[in-house]
Symmetry: C2
Subunit: 145 residues, 2 copies
């Protein structure tokens, strides 16, 4: 099972890109989404007919730290301090391979360093409004899973 | 046919709420979406399998001003200057009933006044990350169409 982490959805490209990842990944693997409140609400509203989220567990980002069974890998969307912090915490909790999509208007090198020091594989991508660079990165990640 | 206007998608709640409106509205009416570049890309990525967008024409927000046949009403998402400007321009081009969902962290009273002076019906709603207040407003709008 792949665990997808969604922190604060401030950048407009985040939720659409997460939906894209979900659409592609759920054909290959079981997935669970651990997200912050706003992120889960945005997913809920984006897919009101449940074409993408059917059969996908969505849980609060704190709940996911209580211990999920069967986590094989973690894919995390990171664009701020909080995202870095949750990703590192999850990595240390589950001790599985963890891939971080580090995105935003600019790439924050401090965030990158912190993630890499915690043995997290970082995919840096400049994207805020435009989701296409994120889609390209997601396609690369999926081809490696 | 209902024309949906999507300006700059800066607030994270905008694209998910637009998808919600599309999901509900396309069962009742033909719709055309005129959006800015980023907004159209975000829709494209959000619904990669085309469950919501199938049969829905998506055109550039400037293209829509060349003259579309059969526009009965306009529903516009407005949160900034540009959104106000496009909405007023569309209202004056098509001279049909125009409903503006004016949203953001705060309601801008100047925007509201400008829209109302142009005979546009304004639905003000405080929403930025959380889409649920927008969903409530959209449900109200749909019940009036």
């Amino acid at each position: 099972m792949i665990l997808i982490l969604l922190g604060c959805p401030e950048p407009p490209a985040m939720i659409p890109s997460a939906l894209y990842l979900i659409a592609k990944l759920r054909k290959l693997k079981d997935i669970v989404i651990a997200g912050n409140h706003a992120a889960l609400k945005l997913l809920d509203v984006s897919d009101v007919e449940r074409h993408y989220l059917k059969g996908v567990a969505c849980i609060d980002i704190d709940e996911g730290l209580r211990g999920l069974e069967g986590v094989e890998k973690i894919v995390s969307f990171v664009h701020n301090d909080g995202g870095v912090s949750y990703t590192v915490t999850y990595k240390n909790k589950y001790k599985k391979e963890c891939l971080a999509i580090l995105f935003g208007r600019k790439i924050n090198e401090e965030f990158k360093k912190t993630l890499e020091e915690n043995d997290i594989k970082v995919f840096p991508v400049r994207a805020f409004h435009n989701p296409y660079p994120l889609v390209k990165t997601i396609d690369k990640i999926i081809s490696q899973l």
